[in-house]
Assembly symmetry: D2
Homo-oligomer: 343 residues x 4
């Protein structure tokens, strides 16, 4: 199967290249970049200096005869423009941006941009692999979940489904490595500014908030507003979502762990930590694993659940490949069996 | 004024030495270490190689004739044994550990050790400088607040006092640089294990939890149970506490900011960030500043407040020196005027 | 093929497990650890929590019926004791320590320990894969090169062979991430001590010095004493060797680059950087690549060559697996095709 | 004394502000920035949010009535234009850039820019404080040494003066934290690119090379060409220069250490490490100290000397203030007594 990757100068694309180059059934046919068209890949990414390839410009006509699928790994607002004609030509489109995850109204409010056409948004299948497999199998337009949304939903959905979350404040304290902010040049992403630094941003304004609420309701049957604070942590990769919710009467730590364990019993990428051990971002670095733990704070009646993923893997490129595997009917772990890089 | 520092091989002591060496009114007379008695300071701390001094053993008799005050910067359980006889001999004792912050029952539960005698605990003055100045002025046994407790209380107390916190879950998501865990040898503090890593520990079991509840009630007049999750962040210094609480009806972000600004108007170490800007740990590194911000998430009815301090400064040694200044009637900022080290 | 890994609690073994778990022809049959026998792997390495396996004690008798090869990834002094009986039983032994790389006299001087028996040392084949392939093919006792030695020899040998190095000082300035120092508990490997820190150690006393001299002569036909200064850098992985040598009259940068390019033309793991670009450790992280560059400083008549490898990959576990591939007659890159993890 | 700082949005200026704000005899009257004129300091540097001050544009006329001295902390090429008129108006000018350190010919070659007028260059006094104190005392135009040059010259000059360096290759392997590269926006300074990364740049082409050669001859009486390789290290601050030179016959480690110790006997910022201990960048972080060590590798006849400074302190702002102190006849350590920040 031949594929193209659009947005090839970003970190999401670099990670897609890492995965697809070693995928037994996929061949990268084209790398597309509007900002660095004509540039050699090795100049954009010296770690790929042995790959002799040039970034191309976008040409959907010509592309549709060369590839079967396109990964969109560009900033928000690009795929809403370019993706529909890809699907119209019969290709599979996998979008790593947020252009097809929300209703047009939500998108306008939270992204502050013009949304895609609603008819296309309604065609999009949400690619939270473990929770939407049946729909994904037949998707032509797959919208890959946001990194924070992936971590949060994987942690919350088993609890919501089980009916363990009571009414009351639902708090998500998110922490992300700085690669999540992309490769764009900004002072507050310079090494000297990020090293030794930890800070919130977009407090109660992050665009993954409505995504979490939306799919928590759709997939978990639970209607909640969530208070979400994302924070930048001085590391390159990794997301840790620490989630707080009031527990429904009668639920114990043991029962919550059982609910999670049962839910993910046959899902190879989800690892429930042993009791007493908590997820660590480094335990999943470079892999598609999602580590999680849950506990009831009996003193306060709150559920605390923590979820760790690699933001570029399960939070982006890894899950995108996992979804391609599902669409194609391949083994879900194909090309994704690498163990975490440690240390 | 001559002082002694006990626990001289730890990070808290190293920071005390940094401050006291440049304090205009204080002279370090003795550095005491049970584990490294007889060792040269430069071997324990090569960054102090120009200071020719040897670590001494504990000898309260002899010490009482040499110094006027003793800083206890040893692990929990040491000062409960050694500190009373220091005070009995008429010296000032400033304890950076938690031995005198809680009731004996609380201490037994949360620290898992034998507490100090209650008669001594009741003599101790809690050294949250901005909130307890009058009592501190006459203290002989000062118990310096825990690092997480300092950040949390400085953020919560103005809101609690103002009556802005409604009933409901009070969540503290704490993040700390690894120096907070001390200099002891553990695998999970090695560079290769911490770099690129972020993880919770002592979830709902951290010993600063009762300290926060205790003094939030005592000083803020507000009785709450708190759900507290501490987390290790891959940086040496810094604490960020992100705090979530339901807002009392009618309070706006503007009003909360006013309440905070008014409270700290004359306190030189507390900096309320401009609206829209959030605290960053690196903005306070090496200084005694505490940066904070507060906001109401109107969608969810939650207050979000974030507080950044340097755990070794305002969270330990810096506040200890601030308290000594208050006790001695010196200018509160004496020896503490250094600006943050940036970058 | 079934293999055992000894020294299973160290970083070298963790990396071997990462590689061997995904190697198409190899199965890990036993993980052996003297210090943590009986411990579950997931307790030693939580990033491998999905692998249900227990560390075993050393039992050569029983092992010889279960496996075909043993990787020794223990500290110096262990394999000299345990390895010979493995080979005697007909197994393949691959030693990642330095016990079989030097003459007994050299070993005694530079390692300060009792050497292995000379008869065994003389049987050992030096596993610098690109330079010793023919001998490696038939090895039963393979001694894997040291991390600094690998980087240095890969950079120097093409120049030495070409006769481009004149008489005079040969300087190796080595820099290594801290994982190279292992997982043992020492104060100067704690995160708070290593972060923001860079320092030399074992100056002119590092045990890879004689290894470099020894094999530079044996494989490059060039007899030089080398001045070697290793330095710890605040990162987990990666070695950069910056090498200085007087250039033989007449050689230009272009010619040196040609010599290197020709030498490594058919070696897939060696990447000569484009002119003007210099190796960066992060460009090889997690991969078996070796990036290098060379230049003549015309002003001073010195060759400057820089070589980057991942110390745990091409500098240890990666090269060990590469050598196993050569011994077994498999494709040299088998199980080693992963691209670098970036960022 | 009132001073102005030009280039106020860079790291060098931030460090000057840190120092000058706490200097007992100096008051900052103006912060000047061409790129961010009119901006509040707190927006440029949130860590200084308690300082209410606005960046000004350059206006020499008006400035000369307000201040007595100007620190130039702008990129190369600015002070050559602006500084002369400052001196002509009778102010003291301290230049942290390289515009007045080299001959016009050298500058043109190594900086690739138009040099300052030679008449002004010849008026400039080189501010290597420990080696040029007498000239500095009467300087009106002081050119502060480059960061690498400071480290290198402080290490080499005592050996050169003593006659201990033989003819032959003189190698400087320099390593710097990334703050040395400034606050400008470049992809290769982003956190995700620098973390875990170590790489050479400007190999044999760095502009501090002629500065080292120039002043090694002028102050040390030794004419050498030097081979210099700078490298970026994943840390914010700190320089380590590892220097290799052939030893003149008869010199031992002990004698070299004596030569260094004697030279710097009365210089409070220079610390010769105890025998066996090597300089570490973190031991000087935030301070004006320079730590050094020297050794003869008897096997190879090479001197190895290593020097650590904080690039923003002794390598820039710290030495600039030290020089102001000397010019003004104040105590050399005034405002510079802070101990290193550790950890």
């Amino acid at each position: 199967m031949k594929v193209a990757v659009l947005g090839a100068s970003g970190y999401g694309s670099a990670e897609l290249i890492r995965l697809l180059e070693n995928h037994p059934h996929v061949e990268i046919e084209a790398l597309i970049s509007s900002s660095q068209e004509g540039e050699g890949l090795m100049n954009v990414y010296p770690h790929l200096s042995h790959i002799n390839r040039t970034l191309e410009k976008w040409d959907v006509e010509q592309l549709s005869s060369r590839v079967d699928a396109v990964f969109f790994a560009a900033p928000a607002g690009v795929s809403s423009q370019l993706l529909p004609e890809v699907v119209e030509r019969g290709l599979i489109a996998i979008d790593l941006a947020g252009d097809f995850r929300l209703t047009p109204e939500e998108y306008r409010v939270w992204y502050g941009k013009e949304p895609a056409m609603n008819s296309w948004i309604s065609k999009a299948v949400y690619g939270l692999s473990e929770w939407n497999r049946e729909e994904i199998k037949t998707a032509r337009l797959l919208t890959n979940p946001g990194c924070y949304a992936t971590a949060t939903l994987l942690g919350l959905l088993p609890l919501a489904k089980a009916g363990a979350i009571a009414k009351g404040p639902l708090i998500i304290d998110g922490k992300s490595g700085v690669s999540g902010a992309g490769r764009g040049l900004q002072t507050n992403r310079l090494f000297s500014e990020v090293e030794g630094n930890l800070f919130p941003y977009k407090v109660a304004e992050h665009q993954h908030t409505p995504e979490i609420e939306h799919y928590l309701e759709r997939m978990g049957g639970a209607s909640h507003v969530v208070t979400f604070t994302p924070q930048i942590v001085p590391m390159s990769r990794g997301i840790l979502a620490t989630i707080y919710a009031p527990v429904e009467a009668g639920w114990t730590t043991h029962q919550l762990r059982e609910a999670v364990a049962t839910t993910y019993h046959e899902h190879p990428f989800i690892r429930l930590c042993e009791r007493g051990r908590w997820p660590r971002t480094k335990d999943v670095t470079g892999s598609n694993f999602c580590d999680l733990q849950v506990k009831v704070d009996e003193r306060t009646g709150m559920i605390i659940t923590a979820v760790a993923i690699d933001n570029l893997m399960k939070g982006a490129a890894g899950q995108a490949v996992q979804n391609l595997n599902i669409i194609m009917g391949w083994q879900e772990t194909m090309g994704l069996k690498m163990l975490p890089l440690y240390p």
